[in-house]
């Protein structure tokens, strides 16, 4: 029982990271019908930006003095990484995706694979291929509840992810840009006719999705201790599966899917074998494609000519 609770806690915190990344996939797919393969790499760049920003703000000095990193600086690191990733996302959209936006479906897909590959390998050149230890921008405090070990890091991950997701929900439901996003995902041509500047809305979609991925990157670094330039590949894939599981294009779906994938992964690692933790995601993907391809919360769309 204790072990089960422990796995659930770990699964939920990992799952909320997946959910943050899945939101970017689902928002972009909802509007452009594009699997943004480079999204996992934006997540990686976000984690590295946080790594270097924390270094520049003197995290090593605090660690050496055995002091905790001040909270306002940790929040600053998070904001810097989110801003940098948002910028990167908009740049990718502008340079690589916009020129091929109206091309047949395969062209943007291959472009996205190209961008992802490019960022991975530039990352290996710039950041070195070796894993780096993530700076302790949050010093760990452990406490026990009902025999279950909970760390403040896991709680923070959950809280930060929850706040960001609530923020996104309010943004999409209440603001003008959010409404425009929903209009675009409903029918991009009609939205254009209604005088919506689609380029601007798509740009903001990429910015927001990338910012959330960067937040996910920092939380991932805190959770997993090390980061490397290829961390975006598998994590990005799992987040994509999370988006498909929840119903691609649906924002609450991405959150539900992310949490479920995180739970499934932790439970597999805990009860079956850690070797299968990566495989379970793909088993889930294949099952969902076979049984309920529109996802848990997705809507069935009638195909029109």
């Amino acid at each position: 029982m204790t072990q089960l609770l422990q796995q659930i806690i770990n699964g939920l915190s990992l799952g909320s990271i997946y959910a943050l990344i899945a939101l970017g996939y689902t928002m972009v797919y909802g509007i452009l019908k594009l699997i943004n393969f480079a999204h996992g790499e934006v997540f990686m760049v976000g984690a590295y930006t946080g790594f270097y920003a924390a270094g520049a703000l003197g995290v090593a000095r605090f660690e050496a003095n055995n002091q905790g990193f001040p909270l306002y600086l940790a929040i600053l690191v998070l904001l810097i990484a989110m801003a940098a990733a948002a910028l990167l996302g908009m740049t990718i959209e502008f340079l690589a995706y916009r020129p091929v936006r109206s091309a047949p479906r395969l062209t943007p897909l291959i472009t996205a694979i190209g961008v992802s590959l490019f960022l991975q390998n530039v990352g290996m050149l710039l950041f070195s291929p070796n894993p780096q230890r993530y700076p302790a921008i949050l010093s760990e405090v452990r406490f026990e509840v009902l025999g279950v070990i909970v760390t403040n890091i896991k709680l923070t991950i959950f809280a930060v992810a929850l706040c960001l997701m609530l923020g996104l929900h309010l943004f999409v439901q209440k603001t003008w840009t959010g409404r425009a996003m929903r209009a675009l995902s409903f029918n991009i041509d009609a939205a254009k006719l209604m005088g919506i500047d689609t380029n601007r809305v798509i740009r903001s979609t990429f910015a927001i999705g990338s910012g959330l991925a960067a937040a996910g990157g920092i939380l991932f670094g805190l959770d997993q201790i090390t980061i490397n330039p290829l961390m975006g590949v598998l994590t990005g894939l799992k987040a994509f599966v999370a988006a498909v599981l929840g119903g691609i294009g649906s924002i609450p779906g991405a959150v539900v899917g992310g949490l479920l994938i995180g739970l499934a992964e932790q439970l597999t690692a805990g009860y079956l074998s850690p070797e299968y933790r990566d495989a379970i995601t793909f088993v889930i993907l294949i099952l969902i494609l076979l049984l309920k391809p529109e996802g848990l919360l997705g809507v069935v769309r009638v195909e029109k000519v």
């Binding site: 019908k33 699997i35 393969f37 690589a96 020129p99 091929v100 109206s102 091309a103 047949p104 479906r105 395969l106 062209t107 943007p108 897909l109 291959i110 472009t111 694979i113 190209g114 961008v115 590959l117 490019f118 991975q120 390998n121 530039v122 290996m124 050149l125 590949v233 598998l234 894939l237 994509f240 599966v241 498909v244 070797e275 990566d278 495989a279 995601t281 793909f282 993907l285 294949i286 494609l289 076979l290 391809p293 195909e303 029109k304 000519v305």
Partner: protein, 336 residues
């Protein structure tokens, strides 16, 4: 009569390949020979991948996984076959040919079956799910081979012999298989089935409305494509004495995608040129290993933006050479 002529032609082709092999072995250094063999294997990979990615328009980016299945399958079956066949027929070239080709076919079968398993769930749907599923499959299969103790785990599979797998792969066999596979894929592409595959690429809904069994054809094309990758894997395994999981990393799949995109998605001659291009450029960029994938990535992006149809588009080289108007390469259009 016809059959006799066909057999005669086939024999002539094999003789020519054999003669070329003698020439290549006499005229080139071992290093150049290796590049030529790799180019041949790449051509098989590219032509096979082109069937599903180019002709059918369903994008797979995990074909290294099928190549791995074929390589391990062929290596394993080859070792098992060797004993009984050599026991029955001695150790002449005939026995070797039987063992080698049996092993290759077994590898192709394994790869084809895994293609069916991967393709069935992901090809029932429209959209880009195949890309994601194949990407995942490519990774998983490598993890599986990494953990399969009876196949040597991470060190790789080298057969029972301490000197590794027998080096069956030579110019003759590589190019005999290149010929067989190119003709096979060519005939398939320009058959009625091939037209249906193109129809699926151009407009799946319209194809379905014309009573094309889209899912069945997509899955079949995908399985054939996987099986050819398996043949290439088997040839590759017997070229370097063993199979290692790290030979089939994601980079390998990307190499294949570059092959077919440079030459032109949907063009068999384009795929052949692309396969040769990648084999040669890999060697030329040997000293620039860490920049190679950066350059490939940029190449992909730039081609997609500037000339998304690649060098040849969907045309074939011989159409251009004959200056005959090629069957109009219909610009793939988006269905909405």
């Amino acid at each position: 009569m016809r059959a006799v002529i066909r057999v005669a032609i086939a024999a002539c082709v094999l003789l020519v390949i054999y003669a070329l092999q003698c020439g290549v072995q006499a005229g080139f250094t071992e290093y150049v020979q290796r590049i030529i063999l790799l180019a041949g294997i790449n051509v098989i990979l590219a032509v096979g991948l082109n069937l599903i990615n180019g002709t059918t328009g369903q994008f797979s980016i995990g074909h290294a996984g099928f190549m791995a299945v074929g390589a391990y399958g062929a290596a394993f079956v080859g070792v098992q076959l060797a004993k009984p066949v050599h026991g029955a027929l001695g150790s002449g070239p005939l026995a070797e040919a039987i063992v080698f080709n049996g092993a290759l076919l077994a590898g192709a079968l394994f790869a084809g079956i895994s293609g069916l398993i991967v393709g069935m769930p992901s090809l029932r749907l429209r959209g880009d799910y195949l890309a994601v599923v194949t990407l995942g499959f490519g990774e998983i299969i490598r993890i599986l081979f990494n953990n399969a103790t009876f196949l040597g785990s991470a060190t790789g599979y080298f057969g029972d012999d301490p000197s590794g797998l027998p080096a069956y792969t030579n110019f003759f066999w590589v190019f005999a298989w290149v010929t067989v596979i190119v003709i096979l894929i060519h005939n398939l592409t320009f058959s009625q089935t091939g037209r249906s595959l193109t129809a699926i690429r151009e407009d799946e809904i319209a194809a379905e409305a014309m009573a094309t069994p889209t899912t069945r054809l997509k899955v079949t094309a995908f399985a054939i494509s996987a099986a050819t990758a398996g043949i290439a894997g088997g040839l590759f395994a017997h070229m370097q004495a063993g199979v290692r999981p790290e030979d089939f990393r994601f980079e390998k799949s990307i190499d294949m995608v570059v092959m077919i995109i440079v030459g032109g998605l949907g063009s068999i001659s384009g795929a052949i040129l692309g396969g040769i291009f990648v084999a040669v450029s890999l060697e030329l960029m040997r000293d620039l290993q860490q920049y190679r994938l950066v350059l490939y990535a940029l190449l992909l992006i730039v081609i997609m933006i500037v000339r998304p149809e690649g060098l040849l588009g969907t045309r074939e080289l011989h159409h251009l050479l004959r200056r005959k108007k090629a069957p109009k390469p219909a610009a793939p259009t988006e269905s909405s």
